[in-house]
């Protein structure tokens, strides 16, 4: 991760030595009427500053829960979470969250949606307007500033959601299957746009997906998760140079990563092909 280390130029006030996200022996148990459900067990992982890490697994493996715990939106049952060396307490500062659904506020224009974080953080709106416009332009949405969310297609709406998450320049971006609801072509486009944004901004990204190829294409490292109970069963470093192009998926090395992940899934009984 030499490249990742070099990208931490905007390191600001944090401890550069501590990993950006550090999770130790984390578990999460949901109490329900029919008894407890173990969503996550003994999860230990680290994400270095500037790294792009994916949590890859089938539905129900607790990957979204893990992301919500890091965001401070969900309590943990046991274990430790540290952000930049400081124990997690509530929703951490300097964090952007992108949901699977875009969660745009229907009553706000696109520009006002992107400016929402400034309002919530009591920052002066006028100071961020230029940046909001810049971000929208970066994602090809310059012309839609005054439109309302319902006037945009699904891919454009998700681009707006990403702009919103980037507005106050958080150094940690948590993305919960952000492209899961999009069609395959739009998804490809957004993968490339996300990579471009990440390469120029040096942010740490923790990315949840159930698409093997998306994870390989985007990540420095993939944490493969199994379900029942949710846990990390494999860790892969992806060694392709950047920027990566979509055609990379046709390469034999790419196929080798895919095979290894599929085999992991099969070994843990998650990819049954016998029926």
């Amino acid at each position: 991760m030499i490249a990742a280390g070099l990208r931490t130029t905007g390191g600001r006030r944090m401890q550069l030595t501590a990993p950006h996200v550090k999770i130790a022996s984390l578990s999460k148990v949901f109490g329900s009427a029919r008894g407890d459900v173990v969503a996550l067990t003994d999860v230990t992982m680290e994400v270095e500053r500037g790294e792009f890490v994916s949590l890859l697994g089938p539905s129900g493996c607790g990957k979204s829960t893990l992301l919500k715990i890091v965001a401070g939106l969900e309590d943990r049952s046991a274990g430790d979470v540290q952000i930049s060396g400081a124990p997690l307490n509530g929703c951490p500062e300097g964090l952007g969250f992108v949901f699977q659904r875009d969660v745009l506020l229907d009553w706000r224009t696109i520009l006002d949606n992107v400016l929402l974080p400034a309002e919530f953080k009591n920052l002066k709106r006028s100071l961020f307007e230029a940046r909001a416009r810049e971000l929208l332009a970066l994602f090809g949405l310059r012309k839609f500033e005054t439109r309302y969310p319902w006037e945009l297609s699904g891919g454009m709406r998700q681009r707006v959601a990403i702009c919103r998450a980037l507005l106050v320049d958080p150094d940690l971006l948590l993305m919960d299957e952000p492209f899961g609801a999009l069609d395959a072509l739009t998804r490809d486009e957004l993968n490339i746009e996300l990579q471009r944004m990440w390469m120029t901004s040096g942010k740490t990204v923790l990315f949840v997906t159930h698409s093997i190829s998306e994870a390989i294409l985007l990540s420095d490292r993939i944490l493969v998760m199994a379900n029942r109970p949710g846990r990390i069963v494999d860790v892969l470093d992806i060694d392709f140079p950047r920027p990566r192009e979509l055609m990379l998926r046709e390469q034999p090395e790419f196929a080798a990563y895919t095979r290894r992940i599929r085999e992991t899934f099969e070994r843990h009984g998650m990819l049954r092909t016998d029926h």
């Binding site: 949901f99 969660v103 009553w107 974080p117 953080k121 949405l141 969310p149 006037e151 486009e189």
Partner: protein, 272 residues
């Protein structure tokens, strides 16, 4: 599609109204009922023109009391709804008793309001308020509760205060529901005012109806009824107009099925 064909499928309100009046007039000509039972529209119109100022004065009274009662119901109702949504205690006590009380015929309380608030405007405003507030509280609670949980998570992840969550997320997302409650409530407020005027009053359309009934002046009763009908309709459309102005996003979303958004924005495909 020509104007005529369109009008048959969805005729304008005024046209429907004129046709009804015409039917009424023809019915009176053909069946010749006693004017005590059913005066013709022309007689009703003449009755109004004989002394329009009296009718308008009384209508203004009824309208003012209705609007004051309604406004109080909106302000207090929405505030109560916010309190109910944030407090489990209030939800268990206030909300459940409000829902229970909603099934009581509130009209029966009108005499009590006269005892409490006198025979003046207060008792009419009180009745309008009482009848209207239930619809507003119930719909506002529903709206505030059914906010998208991801939106709240978004606000929390931005470390927004509880007040910011309420003011910038919960409340706007509840507005369509609140407007639905207001549309029901405005008609109910008018009912409340009239009931209040029936029990004890010196002005208002309810008073006009009651005093005309006392002297079998059926035409006069009908004038008051027609004014009430017009007033009720206008008030309803006033709320609808306000809704369209306040919630263009919601109103347009309802129409979304008719016009696909991508058709309106041809540049979608060219965005990288």
């Amino acid at each position: 599609m020509g104007y005529f064909a369109r009008s048959v499928n969805k005729p304008p309100v005024t046209l429907v109204f004129i046709c009804l009046l015409l039917l009424w007039q023809i019915g009176v000509w053909v069946f010749e009922p006693s004017p005590l039972v059913l005066p013709s529209p022309i007689e009703v119109g003449n009755e109004f023109l004989k002394n329009p100022r009296i009718f308008l004065f009384n209508a203004a009274h009824t309208l003012a009391n209705t609007l004051v009662g309604f406004a109080l119901a909106v302000v207090i109702g929405v505030s109560l709804a916010v309190a109910i949504v944030y407090s489990r205690f209030l939800e268990a006590t206030l909300y459940t008793s409000l829902v229970a009380m909603n099934s009581v015929p509130k009209v029966a309380l009108a005499p009590l309001f006269v005892i409490w608030l006198g025979t003046g405007d207060q008792s009419k405003i009180g009745m309008a308020f009482l009848i209207a507030i239930f619809a507003i509280v119930i719909d506002a609670v529903l709206g505030l509760r059914t906010v998208d949980p991801d939106m709240l998570d978004l606000g929390r992840s931005l470390r927004g205060s509880e007040f910011k969550l309420l003011w910038k997320i919960r409340f706007p997302s509840a507005l369509p529901s609140i407007f639905a409650g207001m549309k029901v409530a405005i008609s109910l407020a008018l009912v409340g005012t009239i009931v209040g005027e029936f029990v004890a009053a010196q002005h208002g359309l309810g008073y006009v109806i009651l005093s005309a009934q006392g002297v079998f002046d059926t035409a006069r009763v009908f004038v008051a009824l027609v004014i009430l009908a017009i007033m009720g309709t206008l008030l309803f459309y006033l709320i609808e107009f306000a809704e369209q102005k306040t919630l263009p996003w919601h109103v347009s979303r309802r129409a979304e099925q008719k016009v696909a958004p991508t058709q309106k924005i041809p540049t979608v495909a060219t965005v990288p």
